[in-house]
């Protein structure tokens, strides 16, 4: 995947946070992607267009998106990837947690099952001592 497309209800504040951490990650918000043209589009059109650009669609819409994606999979045309935020797990107001898990998803790409490329996002666990040392360039 090249990056992420954020649904309209995901705060756009996530975009600069991910870009700062991962300059190579393509990330856009529906309000600006393709000049905002997809603000008028159906979920299915958005997901198909994102897939055409190798982007994972990030959404908290656990009402409309699951039946749609399940149908797309059943019809043999799965999207590139869907990352579902579950409001009880990562609050929509918590941009920091969402940024953190998206950075992790991109930096250590989860092996999306091509036949069923859907994940739900959970808060990233705290990095291990080894990971923290690695980030600081400390060698054991």
């Amino acid at each position: 995947m090249r990056g992420f497309l954020l649904d309209s209800h995901v705060t756009a504040a996530v975009v600069p946070g991910v870009r700062r951490a991962l300059p190579s990650c393509e990330i856009d918000h529906l309000s600006t992607w393709r000049g905002g043209a997809f603000l008028h589009a159906s979920d299915e059109s958005i997901i198909l267009a994102a897939s055409n650009e190798d982007l994972v669609f990030v959404t908290y819409d656990v009402h409309s998106v699951p039946p749609l994606v399940h149908r797309m999979v059943a019809e043999g045309r799965p999207p590139v990837g869907i990352a579902l935020g579950v409001p009880r797990v990562i609050r929509p107001s918590d941009a920091g947690k969402l940024i953190s898990v998206l950075v992790r998803l991109f930096a250590k790409p989860f092996p999306f099952d091509p036949a069923y490329p859907v994940v739900y996002l959970r808060p990233s666990p705290k990095p291990s001592v080894k990971e923290r040392r690695g980030r600081k360039g400390v060698v054991d």
């Binding site: 705060t11 905002g36 656990v62 579902l84 992790r104």
Partner: protein
């Protein structure tokens, strides 16, 4: 019962689209359904300033958001069940809807459900 004409008089910026074969009130040009605005408004505990900050970059004004909230108050039977379903969605229910869904991160030690 209000007619569609009455609704457009009262709520001129709210239209209806079909989503998964069901009618869904929404604000054209914003990408937002009425239930999404209500859901986020509740998530910010009714703080309109925080809600509008959340929507930064979207073509939605405080007046439009207010119209959507008023619509939801007028037609609660259309909006409240959806908002409640989203707010109370559990991973178990999500797995029923999407049997192949996987968690991310997948670390076994992070496999507990709650995170509330």
């Amino acid at each position: 019962m209000a007619t569609l004409t009455d609704r457009s008089d009262l709520f001129p910026h709210v239209s209806t689209r079909t989503v998964n074969d069901k009618p869904e009130p929404y604000l054209p040009g914003t990408g937002l359904a009425v239930w999404e605005i209500v859901w986020l408004w509740r998530a910010y505990e009714g703080d309109m300033d925080a809600l509008m900050e959340h929507f930064c970059g979207l073509p939605i004004t405080r007046e439009l958001a207010g119209e959507a909230l008023a619509y939801a108050r007028t037609y609660p039977d259309e909006i409240d069940p959806v908002v409640t379903a989203v707010e109370t969605m559990t991973l178990e229910r999500l797995r029923e809807l999407l049997p192949g869904i996987q968690p991310f991160p997948p670390d076994p030690e992070n496999d507990a459900e709650p995170h509330t």
